[in-house]
Symmetry: C2
Subunit: 189 residues, 2 copies
């Protein structure tokens, strides 16, 4: 998606350790119109998949997921990273490692909100090692639902997670696919 690639080139920055800093428009300060446009593009790509639920993981996946739910006209569920007082004890849960935060979280969805009738589009802002996507896919399968695919804003293709999931049969659509990054250049696939 050219709009997103142009924005990454304009406002993105490569930090030491393979971190792409896009927090000026994607995951700290958010450009809502860009998110609406990305959601429209995901709708265009997945319109024939019978999607009736959007699933993401807190916190930075929520922005794209609610816009995608809005455009699809279906509910969005976000998996939670910790048990709070107002979540039911009846949850589907998995362990997910975070590349950005360098830790492991228990990620859970209330059983009330994910079930066998769900045809799920998984949405996230980043795809790197694929750990989050894999965890969310597992939650859908535990619930007896089916995964229509994954819609991602930025895929760091060189980290291999996306291609591994594609080999395993998941349809993964990323709106910007980064082949390589150096301190002063970003190359898209």
């Amino acid at each position: 998606m050219k709009l997103l690639e142009d924005r990454i080139l304009k406002d993105g920055q490569v930090l030491p350790g393979g971190i792409l800093k896009v927090d000026g428009f994607l995951n700290h300060r958010i450009d809502p119109q860009l998110f609406y446009d990305m959601a429209e593009e995901l709708k265009r790509r997945f319109r024939d998949e019978g999607v009736n639920k959007i699933l993401t993981i807190e916190a930075s996946g929520i922005s794209l997921a609610i816009m995608t739910g809005y455009v699809f006209g279906c509910p969005m569920v976000f998996a939670k990273k910790s048990r709070s007082k107002n979540i039911s004890r009846d949850v589907w849960s998995v362990e997910v490692e975070s590349f950005t935060h360098g830790n492991t979280n228990t990620v859970m969805v209330s059983k009330e909100y994910l079930g066998p009738e769900d045809r799920v589009l998984i949405v996230d802002d980043f795809l790197a090692t694929g750990a989050a996507l894999r965890g969310l896919k597992e939650l859908v399968e535990m619930a007896g639902g089916s995964v229509a695919g994954a819609g991602i804003a930025i895929e760091k293709v060189f980290q291999g997670g996306g291609d591994l999931l594609r080999k395993e049969g998941m349809r993964v659509e990323s709106l910007a696919r980064i082949a390589s990054m150096t301190d002063d250049s970003i190359t898209f696939c």
Copy 2:
């Protein structure tokens, strides 16, 4: 806002300990169309305030905040609860106690994304003791910006935080204002 009050009566549930469970449409499974409609109502109420930035706190404030930013046509910033690898060290930060989670978090916004030119509408899903709102207001003031007001989905008026903030001069607009709750009834103001 009648639409939201009706939805609370239909799908909300009062749990022991003064917890209102609305995770079927507000803070776990999300109804995106409802959020769009709430954002429109916030726009109607704050349209003359010169708002150029929406500020919220992760995670459950993000859904309403991005929709509000979309409707206002301005950026949204969400304050983060922990330092991750991709946030700048130059941050405005405060301590905020969470009623829902029963803990205290350091809440921060990168100095790049909050400054003296900002006229900020603070947005959140819940207002109870007002601790989160107060923290976000403090961040805006540290940055030299001004607070246009706060737009809240559900205010638990009986917890007093909203009225205290109003007394201190903040314009607080809540779309559903709960006067009292018992195990089998919810009364709006």
